[in-house]
């Protein structure tokens, strides 16, 4: 049985190795472009200790959570519907694939018009940036329910809701959770993107101000802070997955 906890123990080793590599590279690059980890970590520590980073995160996280939850609430039912209903899938997929191809940042001017430049606009961008990833995974999961299982359940006269609850949803859950995990990663990315493309607030504003001041050490510290937050979110999602579907485990050769 794979003890995920022991792979987690390697994380610090990995991070240290990565930082050493970074320090080496930064020695060759002008300081205005890439600050060395020593400087960045220093700024990270300072800005966390004085509360500026955590406070900004508290502000930024609001539109992220709202946008993410909206995307999940929309993607799961729609994904399952599309995955299990062939006519709906055929009708809707061309349009979905088409919209998915557009970079959300190209849509920002339109979001500004439709949703404004503040909170609503940011939520809309977060939604747009994670909806499809969650949807596609849910869709794949709903499609992949083994025909044999469904037939077996039917032969036992399970139908409708029971069929769903006992066969479809559990079979699709691993995919749904993959979608949730990929989705939250996207949402963290969207969180900061929204603050850079709409009116800059919180973390986005900090990042812009530091960048314009050519303070690359602080700018990288902010980016690193967000990355660590993203890492934490994804690990958190893994924990939730382990609790929700304990019978689904990765195994090792």
């Amino acid at each position: 049985m794979w003890k995920s906890r022991s792979s987690f123990a390697l994380y610090p080793v990995s991070i240290v190795l990565g930082l050493l590599a970074w320090e080496a590279v930064a020695a060759f690059v002008p300081k205005g472009l890439l600050a060395p980890p020593s400087a960045v970590l220093g700024r990270l520590a300072t800005m966390t200790a004085d509360g500026s980073l955590p406070r900004a995160l508290a502000g930024s996280v609001q539109h992220m959570i709202v946008g993410y939850l909206l995307a999940v609430a929309a993607a799961i039912p729609i994904g399952i519907l599309i995955g299990r209903n062939a006519p709906v899938a055929t009708a809707v997929e061309p349009v979905l694939n088409a919209i998915y191809a557009i970079p959300p940042v190209a849509l920002v001017p339109f979001f500004i018009i439709w949703f404004g430049m503040y909170f609503e606009g940011r939520v809309a961008l977060v939604f747009a940036m994670c909806f499809f990833e969650i949807l596609i995974n849910v869709l794949q999961g709903a499609r992949n329910v083994d025909r044999g299982l469904v037939d077996a359940a039917r032969s036992l006269e399970a139908s409708g809701l029971a069929l769903w609850r006992l066969v479809v949803i559990p079979a699709a859950l691993p995919f749904i959770f993959t979608g949730l995990r990929v989705g939250i990663g996207r949402a963290v990315n969207a969180m900061i993107t929204a603050e850079l493309f709409f009116v800059a607030v919180n973390l986005g504003q900090m990042l812009k101000t530091r960048s314009n001041a050519f303070d690359t050490a602080s700018a990288f510290a902010i980016i690193l802070f967000i990355s660590l937050f993203g890492l934490a979110c994804q690990e958190g999602m893994r924990l939730i997955e382990r609790r929700a579907i304990p019978w689904h485990r990765g195994s090792e050769t």
Binding site: V25, F28, V29, P30, K31, G32, L33, V108, P109, I112, I113, G116, M117, F197, F198, V199, A200, K208, T209, S211, N212, A213, F214, D215
Partner: protein, 348 residues
């Protein structure tokens, strides 16, 4: 959209220098260095409107006649232009002066050595339903749209606002981005004042009550929008100085001809403008624009108008907008006057 050869050999060399020989993905085909002519890598800003065309034409068509091949790459973000030159991948850059001066205050050694053109075709437009005077910008339900904090669009507005006695602390700013997005934000009433191009104004006025309240070349004397710069250490090399001189000669030659001769402007416009309708634009309209640019505003000065005093006059506005730090700016170190002086001398 006109394509310019991509920079290849220099990139690999500088990358190797910078990263100590990490193997790179092979890039397909690279431009061999031209036989006799000097070459230089130019990093330019986004799109090209009428005002940009003669100087750009000077770079692409006059400079080669003077022995300098220019490889040009356009970037969307000013920061990328500055960073690319700072990193050595580009040699000469064109950008607005504010962020560059801010960079100097932070210790980056970028030096301005000429103007690309003078003044600008940008103007400040307002929705007259809500804004009748400058003071109205202070109203709580008014948002002012700019490109990004501390840039030329914000400074442009601040100058006029302060002269009218406004209180900066009461103004709400919104970073909206490029001129297209700013325009749409204005039309959809998300902002009530913003900076647009003067030829967009008649169109805007068809959709509602809008008015221009500030024209930079009348308000500022002069307004500096785009300057030419390079790394300080790059400019110290005599061979590079010669390239810089040839570059400015090309720009100045084109500036003179563009001002004097509509035909020259037209050629430059058709070659370089990144506007969809340039091929179908009626000659009369093109000529009207040219007249306004060349003679009404005077954007292509015969002597390049590259003087410390001109930037000096704008510094108070940069400070007021908090676009640069609250420390004094050493313009002498920031500007290398020798290049333009030499170019003018050689051109006569």
């Amino acid at each position: 959209m006109s394509k310019h050869t991509m920079a290849q050999p220099m990139t690999r060399r500088s990358a190797l220098r910078l990263l100590g020989g990490i193997p790179l993905a092979a890039s397909a085909g690279f431009a061999g260095t031209a036989a006799a002519a000097d070459s230089v890598k130019l990093i330019n800003l986004g799109f090209a409107l009428g005002i940009h065309c003669p100087p750009t034409y000077g770079i692409t068509d006059e400079c080669p006649k003077l022995g300098l091949q220019v490889e040009m790459q356009r970037f969307q973000r000013m920061r990328d232009v500055l960073q690319t030159v700072m990193g050595g991948t580009g040699e000469i850059g064109i950008a607005e002066p504010i962020l560059l001066l801010r960079g100097r205050q932070a210790g980056t050694d970028l030096v301005i050595f000429g103007n690309f053109y003078l003044h600008t075709t940008l103007v400040v437009a307002v929705n007259t339903d809500q804004i009748k005077t400058w003071k109205d910008l202070e109203k709580p339900d008014v948002t002012v749209g700019i490109n990004s904090q501390g840039d030329i669009t914000q400074v442009m507005i601040i100058g006029g606002f302060l002269k009218a006695g406004g209180d900066l602390s009461k103004v709400k700013w919104a970073d909206v981005g490029g001129s297209g997005t700013r325009l749409r934000a204005l039309l959809s009433k998300r902002v009530q004042a913003t900076v647009v191009h003067f030829d967009q104004v008649p169109e805007i006025q068809k959709s509602g009550n809008y008015r221009v309240i500030l024209v930079p070349h009348k308000e500022y004397d002069p307004w500096i929008n785009e300057i030419v710069f390079a790394r300080g250490d790059w400019l110290k090399n005599p061979a590079n100085r010669r390239k810089a001189v040839a570059f400015m000669k090309g720009v100045i030659l084109a500036s003179r001809r563009g001002t004097a001769d509509f035909g020259y402007y037209k050629t430059a416009f058709l070659k370089h403008a990144t506007l969809k309708d340039k091929e179908t634009m009626p000659e009369a309209e093109m000529q009207a624009h040219w007249k306004e640019l060349a003679h009404g505003i005077g954007v292509w000065p015969a002597d390049n108008a590259f003087r410390p005093a001109n930037l000096e006059k704008l510094l108070p506005y940069y400070h007021a907008a908090q676009a640069i730090e609250d420390k004094p700016v050493d313009l002498k170190a920031a500007m290398d006057l020798g290049i333009v002086a030499q170019a003018l001398k050689e051109l006569g």
